[in-house]
Amino acid sequence: MKALVAVKRVIDYNVKPRLKSDGSGVDLTNVKMSINPFDEIAVEEAIRLKEAGKVSEVVLVSIGSSKSEETIRTGLAMGADRGILVNTGDPAIEPLAVAKILKSIAESEQVGIVIVGKQAIDDDCNQTGQMLSALLDWPQGTFASVVDIQSADKVLVTREIDGGLQTLELDLPAVVTTDLRLNEPRFASLPNIMKAKKKPVSKVSLADLGLPENFIEPRLIVQKTEAPEVRQAGVKVADAAELIDKLRNEAGVL
């Protein structure tokens, strides 16, 4: 069975975002961009499933500007087989539209499993996988920390939930979203980075997918983007005794 993995190009997780002074959003000019960390975990999982003989081919898809090809190449260097770049230009694209595009690709590619990150570290939405699962009418295994394909038509997914862990058995095809502890992504070796340059990446437009252009128009109007309130650094205490005294008599929280 084929695995489809969606990868998003986002601000690198080590970079502290800088806001534009006019309130129009985060300034991404000359900022280091990387593959969304949860998507990197998704790519790793799909490659491991292929190495274990459970998956025959790992197809990556990225939706965004032409620069998203770099993100696909990152995943190809890790070991994915080929990529699809859906060029939608620069504007941010919402999870609902992403889910619709992924649905169209999952169907035309006839994949057996879709693996996506549980959230993107830029918009922090945590929606795409669930939306895709609903649109395809496939089962979902969100926030996965174990993915165990049992047969051509069953997968066990262990999920990180508020109270601990939960294991589900899903019929395939299914949609899985990754959590942090699913795996530790590998580093791509130099030879694999070179090889990845030759792997096929097909570039498609919305029209190629038979989707109308207007359908990626955002539903939410972002009126402004502002910095959160900043917390001021407080006072230094000398030792445990002073700390307890301050918490009791100054802050009143003990």
Partner: protein, 310 residues
């Protein structure tokens, strides 16, 4: 505007998250609360006591016992057309099911709402809480998850709301619940605790974590949190992780021990009322947001604190 609030519960107890999400939903208009589960009439009675609840809708079904996203979405969609807003706490259950509702209704969900400005305008954090967006939704039905750390809990009402049983028919299920591994501890839940003591990578092992963090937490009647590094290293269970991609908390007192203060961790705790940081590195970023900084080796400071509190 009429809002439907999806309740979080374990078939016995209504979660405090729901009482907090209710104070958000009430800002939109009249609120009905939907309880989906199995043998959970007790939960319906608890919800009926909350102030501001119009009706409690009780959907009991064998297939809803574990509140899996697919059957819950089916149940919600069967009544969604009566409402202009579908609301839930941003719990793992809410996060799992609400995007399915949004997709089926063809609307964009607004995730992790921290403030409601009016019926269609909301504030939500992005970039690990470093960029707060004000967004307007013109969709006919608003689908919202609520970041409960930003809302107070609803008090009980003098009289109970009416409980209405719903007759739910569900299609063939293709997700089956196999098992849960939940920690049943006597400690308060992270998201409702007044005090949280959290440990990071510096603890070095699960034994150290238990021997150093837990006694202080016990003395303070606190919930226990952890950084991602501590969870990844197996010092603490996954459900203790605080941060951008773990739990978002805002206790009266948050004590961060041996945690450096990466933006992903700060995203989960910087709205706490009082923050204490214990770290042996004077340049640790956590100190920049701490009200009280104790520059010390935690293996000395924490046992000392435990002793002084005894």
């Amino acid at each position: 505007m009429k809002a439907l609030l999806i309740a979080d519960h374990d078939n016995n107890h209504l979660s405090e998250q729901t009482a907090k999400a209710l104070s958000a939903a009430s800002q939109l208009g009249a609120v009905d609360v939907l309880i989906m589960g199995h043998d959970c009439t007790e939960v319906a009675s608890q919800a009926a006591c909350l102030s501001g609840v119009g009706r409690v809708l009780l959907a009991e079904h064998e297939a809803l016992k574990h509140q899996l996203a697919e059957p819950c979405a089916e149940a919600i969609l069967s009544i969604a057309s009566e409402y202009q807003a579908i609301v839930s706490a941003a719990s793992t259950t809410g996060k799992g099911v609400l995007p399915r509702i949004a997709a089926k209704l063809d609307v964009m969900q607004i995730s992790e709402v921290i403030e409601i400005l009016d019926e269609k305008t909301f504030k939500r954090p992005t970039y690990a809480g470093n960029a707060i967006q004000t967004v307007q939704s013109n969709d006919s039905i608003k689908v919202l998850t609520i970041r409960t750390a930003n809302f107070a809990t609803t008090e009980n009402a003098p009289t109970s709301a009416e409980v209405v049983a719903l007759d739910i028919t569900l299609g063939q299920q293709r997700s089956v619940h196999i098992s849960d591994k939940v920690s049943d501890s006597e400690r308060p839940e992270l998201q409702s605790a007044k005090v949280i003591v959290s440990g990071g990578r510096a603890l070095g092992s699960q034994e150290n974590f238990n021997a150093t963090i837990l006694p202080v937490a016990d003395k303070l009647g606190a919930a226990v949190g952890a950084s991602r590094a501590a969870v990844d290293s197996g010092f603490a269970p996954n459900d203790w992780q605080v941060g951008q991609t773990g739990k978002i908390v805002s206790p009266d007192l948050y004590v961060a021990c041996g945690i450096s203060g990466a933006i992903q961790h700060l995203a989960g705790m910087k709205d706490s009322k009082v923050i204490v940081a214990i770290n042996n590195d004077e340049d640790a970023p956590i100190f920049q947001i701490a009200d009280y900084r104790l520059e010390a080796d935690l293996f000395e400071a924490l046992p000392e604190i435990t002793r002084l509190l005894s």
